[in-house]
């Protein structure tokens, strides 16, 4: 928890936490001032950088718009299904690879190489397989989140303290008991870390697919706003989306007890 450690360290100095708050407020004020200056400067096309008041107004309009919530639910359902399918498969494959050195040597390199490949390029294939409806978006989201979850679970499985496994065996624990009492508790952090990473890429995969070809969802709404050059509305939707993604990520991160980007 570097951030928390650092905050406590600064707080140890005289008025440390006050200084941190002052820096944060100063940064926010500078950014707001720069934004407003850019908005009023006339250097950009009209409305490319709207004033924050306009963006705030667009946010308020969005907040009372029923259609927006319907599209939001569509996107959330797609992301949820993608995470369930891709995450479930990722955990199963990760457990298999992490539990067997042979399988890991045989197949893990392919996951390692395919993992960083941008999954959006598989969208034409997904459209062919699953059609132009929500299924192709769910499939792309599932494909996106499968790799980080599988690799994280496989790595986590290998990092289980052998002492814990020996303790389980010395108690003659059954395979189910070993899984429930030893493996899964010991792997809570890597699994949740993988889910956290997977969640982020599932959102990206699903919503990018929506921006490419869809008639529902937040990705579709963003493209609609872009098509009619309604920049305040587009900013408002991006803000809502970022806030939701960051909040969900933070929630999973808190449960996993991790706060920084994890290394691979």
């Amino acid at each position: 928890m570097p951030a928390a450690r650092d905050l406590s360290g600064v707080a140890g100095a005289p008025s440390g936490s006050g200084r941190v708050a002052a820096i944060r407020i100063a940064i926010i004020l500078v950014v707001v001032a720069l934004w407003e200056a850019a908005s009023a400067s006339g250097w950009f096309y009209r409305d490319v950088i709207p004033s924050l008041l306009t963006v705030g107004r667009a946010l308020a309009v969005l907040a009372v718009n029923r259609d927006f919530y319907w599209h939001l639910v569509v996107s959330l359902m797609e992301v949820g299904q993608a995470l369930a399918i891709g995450g479930g498969l990722g955990i199963a494959i990760g457990l298999a690879l992490g539990g067997s050195r042979f399988l890991s040597r045989a197949f893990e390199r392919y996951l390692y190489y395919l993992g960083p490949t941008p999954k959006i390029i598989f969208f034409p294939v997904m459209i062919m397989w699953f059609g132009v409806g929500p299924a192709s978006k769910v499939a792309l989201g599932a494909l996106s989140c499968f790799f980080p979850i599988a690799l994280s679970v496989a790595a986590g499985m290998r990092q289980i303290d052998p002492v814990l496994i020996r303790v389980g065996r010395s108690f003659h624990a059954s395979p189910m008991q070993m899984a429930a009492k030893i493996h899964l508790p010991a792997m809570r952090e890597p699994i949740l870390n993988g889910v956290r990473l997977g969640f982020g890429v599932a959102i990206i995969g699903t919503l990018l697919a929506e921006t490419k070809l869809s008639n529902a969802g937040i990705g579709y709404l963003i493209m609609q706003a872009y098509a009619v050059f309604d920049m305040p509305r587009m900013y408002a939707m991006l803000i809502v989306l970022f806030a939701l993604a960051i909040a969900a990520n933070e929630l999973v991160g808190r449960y996993a007890g991790v706060h920084a980007v994890s290394g691979s």
């Binding site: 820096i23 067997s100 960083p116 490949t117 390029i121 990018l208 933070e250």
Partner: protein, 256 residues
């Protein structure tokens, strides 16, 4: 499985993996040929293989391949420069780090790729948009891992530096940076992944530039074998860059 592992060893496992993939590919080919799978949805693997030389000649795919590689390279160089600089700055000024580190971590989890319409408006349908998207996506992990690496330098190493009366610059170049390199490279590799996802993704979405553009074109022409083969080239780019970062890391840390 354990007996199999002992008998076959590492090379056997690799061969087993290749054999399984080859068998699966042959099975798909067979199912397509007997009509159990639809050839209009899944192309014949043999046709996909044959498409590699075809798209090299007819689509001149090496040019977009180079374009994507260049965009990735520029974005990664910018990520390395700005990421390490910002990370060093945050390490140096503790209060600034405490104030902003959670924001940078939040940015790492934000779906930045969805901002591409905004970048299109700002920079137009150009390589600048593609590189800028790659840069913004790649920065957060590079910054966070640089901070983590510099902050994790062993106290004894810092004390050794101080005992030699090293200047701040010498301390950074001789002690802090070498100690932080493994973490920095983890950050750069994560940054590369985010970078590549955004670069090819944006190329695909805006139908501009390198391999993403070619895949979009081939898909729109319903050239399925060509689309699959072009996807193979994107996988090749990601493998090339992963190997490149590993090589650079080994050069900078000969002991690893």
């Amino acid at each position: 499985m354990a007996a199999g592992e002992r008998a076959l060893g590492a090379a056997g496992a690799v061969a087993f993996g290749i054999a399984v993939i080859a068998a699966a590919t042959a099975a798909v080919e067979g199912l397509l040929r007997i009509g159990l799978l639809n050839r209009y949805i899944v192309p014949l693997p043999s046709e996909v293989l044959a498409s590699f030389p075809r798209i090299v000649v007819e689509e001149n795919i090496l040019a977009p391949f180079v374009v994507t590689c260049k965009e990735c390279l520029y974005a990664m160089l910018l990520v390395a420069v700005f990421g390490i600089l910002t990370g060093t700055l945050l390490h140096r000024f503790v209060a600034l780090r405490a104030a902003t580190e959670t924001w940078v971590a939040a940015l790492a989890s934000a779906p930045i790729a969805l901002m591409y319409p905004l970048f299109l408006v700002l920079f137009g349908r150009s390589a600048t948009t593609v590189v800028a998207m790659g840069l913004i996506a790649g920065l957060p992990p590079a910054i966070l891992k640089t901070v983590e690496g510099l902050g994790g330098t062993r106290r004894v190493l810092i004390n050794v530096g101080r005992s030699f009366n090293l200047t701040a610059g010498q301390m950074f170049a001789k002690i802090l940076l070498p100690a932080a390199l493994p973490n920095i490279f983890v950050g750069l590799r994560l940054g590369l992944i985010f970078c590549l996802i955004n670069i090819v993704g944006v190329e695909f979405m805006i139908n501009f530039g390198g391999l993403g553009h070619v895949i979009n074109e081939l898909a729109e022409r319903y050239d399925l074998p060509g689309t699959y083969a072009a996807i193979g080239f994107v996988i090749l780019v990601s493998i090339l860059f992963l190997i490149l970062t590993e090589r650079i890391e080994r050069c900078l840390q000969p002991g690893t």
